[in-house]
Amino acid sequence: MSLLEIKNLQASVEDRQILRGVDLVVNPGEVHAIMGPNGSGKSTLAHVLSGKDGYEVTGGSVTLDGIDLLSIEPDERAAAGLFLAFQYPMEIPGVATMTFLRTAMNAQRKKRGEPELSTPEFMKRVREEAKNLSIDPEMLKRPVNVGFSGGEKKRNEVLQMALLQPKLAVLDETDSGLDIDALKIAAEGVNRLRSPERGMIVITHYQRLLEHIVPDIVHVFSRGRIVRTGGKELALELEAKGYADYEQEAAA
């Protein structure tokens, strides 16, 4: 059975249609890249999948492991195994990163009927994953993302992904605002999480991220839908030729 099935998904914001019939199937173990020009609706797709307010789904369906995602709340989608790595991770003053991580992990476990993690077990996991991502443990005592650099924020997203172990991860412009070193660390973190059970959707404008997170399948997104699908070589072609062809094609 496929992991994620998006069928003819349509969504609008304030009566303006953004997604115009998205069809996508992600099987376990696959990494899909969605590339497209700015304003094509890539980030909207990520937000609609995760259940952000302000979007109205006007048609289509989304299932994750057979669960109808569109009928449940964002926290339930997370517990069902969906993870969105934010393009702009939020700063939460007054909430220590550790408290946040622990609350999130236990909330998901509770929803799945699993026991809460003990403090030593939780600390052990956090320390291991933080070390893998070169995150200073001192940083975890600070409020979530407050005063973090762009690279630290993105690494913090990958840390959360590593701890929450989702079935499907959607990475929204994980490369934006990162220099090459920060990009490498984040990409290595993502690659460590590739597994035969897990699916990933990497949303990006540029091909450069895909040098580090090599996709199995590349989709071109334009005007609210997927207009072309190919192998990883498609990313190189886009890098060379740009998106101009697709924008015209979709407009036609």
């Binding site: 926290d75 989608r77 408290t99 946040f100 609350t103 999130a104």
Partner: protein, 488 residues
């Protein structure tokens, strides 16, 4: 003359109407009011042109006639009580036309005045024994004041640390303790306030605490104020804390009473701190849901004093917490903080006057309000910098989190600066929980209610975390959590 009086009365009625209309307009315009004061009387005790006394004012006057000869204290104090009562009589209960009470119209809020409370009976004492549970598990010295009377048998007055004196105000007055009576006769930073004048007129009992110079009291003192019922009544308590040079003390007050009983509390605490003293003061308001609570804190601080104050306002129907702090010596640091959490139709007012009478002092105010239902919070912060008070550093911030469309927060920061080399500022905000933050937390699997709780806790945490004593801080955090858990 009679004709003129009628005209004046008409005029004041019209002013009231205009005020009411302005209020409606302002409320429609937005939830925040932060505008310059329009009328500041030089002295709020000035005679009011209004003629009719309210039922409450008449009842207070009748009570005065009835009890004034029975109130404790020697002749000079009786004269002072009389003068304070006259001040009330001339000004009446403060109304919205008194700038300092603009948002908390005591005249309108007090539909009647209850008779003075009777000392608690056996059932009352059982209730008093259970009071103060908010600090259960924290090692404190409990002093219980029930229905306005210090109950020695329920208080922990044995084995006082050397250099610490804790006693009853009524005892001190009856005995004619000259230190206490002269203190009560001295000019107070709250001198002009009518609610405080009423307290001076009617004060019966309270707690007198003295810490000798150089003595550091590690164990916090918990004044457990409670109203036990069974019928509504009025309580006037006055407490005094004097902290000697280089001495240190932590004083917690909690105020509570039964829900559904419209009792009235007028309580005051006067702090005098000598050079180098260190004071932590926490006031926890947990009055019953129908109670009216008016509280005055005054502080006169010497040189190099460290004072940290936190007012937590959770209970009561209408609450006014006013603080008058004066820095008389240089090098002193004052932190006045507040955490207000209201729901239903609760009203809580925090009014602060910090008087930098001398330069080189620091004042910091951080007030956080969480407002649900149709509740309303008021923050009035006035910082006065006298002409020679150079190098004053005064900052205030008041922030309100509105959890409903119908809650209201009024902020009125005021800076009166007469010196030219100072750093002073203020900031005020009011807003809802950030949807993007909520989504971020929910996208990680945290249910909406829990996500809101996390954000609200962190919001009030900034104020609560200023408490240095870990046990008290944890108890307050737990009280805030209980408030959040009771949210619908």
């Amino acid at each position: 003359m009679a004709h003129l009086n009628v005209q004046l009365a008409n005029l004041s009625v019209r002013v009231d109407r205009i005020d009411a209309r302005l209020d409606r307009v302002e409320r429609r315009l937005g939830l925040i009011e932060a505008r310059a004061p329009d009328r500041i009387p030089d002295d709020q005790t000035m005679t009011r042109p209004t003629i009719a006394k309210t039922d409450a004012e008449q009842a207070i006057a009748a009570t005065w006639t009835d009890v004034k000869d029975r109130l404790p204290g020697p002749a000079p104090l009786a004269a002072r009580r009389e003068a304070a009562f006259r001040r009330f009589e001339a000004a009446g209960l403060p109304s919205r036309r008194v700038e300092e009470w603009k948002y908390t119209d005591l005249r309108a809020l007090m539909r009647d005045a209850k008779p003075l409370a009777q000392p608690p009976g056996e059932i009352g004492k059982v209730r008093a024994r259970a009071a103060g549970a908010v600090l259960a598990g924290v090692d404190v010295r409990r002093v219980v004041i029930a229905d306005g009377v210090l109950l020695k048998e329920l208080s922990d007055l044995d084995g006082l640390e050397p250099g610490l004196v804790v006693g009853s105000l009524a005892d001190a007055l009856t005995r004619g303790d000259s230190e206490v009576t002269s203190r009560l006769g001295a000019q107070s930073p709250a001198e002009k306030d009518v609610a405080f004048a009423l307290n001076t007129a009617f004060m019966g009992d309270g707690v007198v605490i003295r810490v000798s110079p150089g003595v550091k009291i590690a164990r916090p003192i918990h004044l457990v104020f409670c109203f036990t019922g069974p019928v509504p009544a009025t309580v006037f308590t006055r407490s005094l804390l004097s902290v000697g040079a280089g001495a240190a003390v932590t004083l917690v007050e909690s105020h509570e009473g039964p829900d559904g009983l419209d009792y009235q509390v007028n309580t005051a605490l006067e702090i005098v701190a000598a050079d180098g003293a260190e004071i932590d003061h926490v006031k926890i308001g947990l009055e019953g849901g129908s109670a009216l609570h008016v509280s005055t804190l005054t502080a006169a601080l010497g040189r190099h004093v460290q004072m940290r104050d936190l007012t937590v306002a959770l209970g009561g129907a209408a609450v006014r917490n006013q603080a008058f702090v004066r820095c008389d010596g240089t090098g002193t640091t004052v932190g006045l903080h507040g955490a207000t959490m209201l729901r239903g139709r609760q009203h809580a007012d925090a009014t602060l006057v910090v008087d930098h009478a001398i330069g080189g002092c620091v004042s910091r105010e951080i007030f956080k309000g969480v407002l649900d239902g149709e509740s309303r919070s008021v923050f009035q912060g006035k910082t006065i910098v006298r002409p020679d008070a150079q190098k004053t550093d005064g900052k205030m911030a008041s922030h309100a989190l509105l959890l409903s469309e119908t809650a209201e927060a009024d902020h009125k920061p005021e800076l009166e600066i007469f010196a030219d080399d100072v750093v002073c500022g203020h900031g005020a905000t009011a807003g809802a929980l950030d949807d993007d933050l909520l989504f971020y937390l929910m996208a990680r699997g945290i249910p909406k209610k829990e996500a809101e709780t996390l954000l609200i806790q962190s919001f009030v945490g900034e104020a609560i975390d200023t408490v240095t004593n870990e046990g008290i801080r944890d108890a307050l955090t737990a009280a805030a959590t209980r408030w959040l858990e009771a949210r619908e």
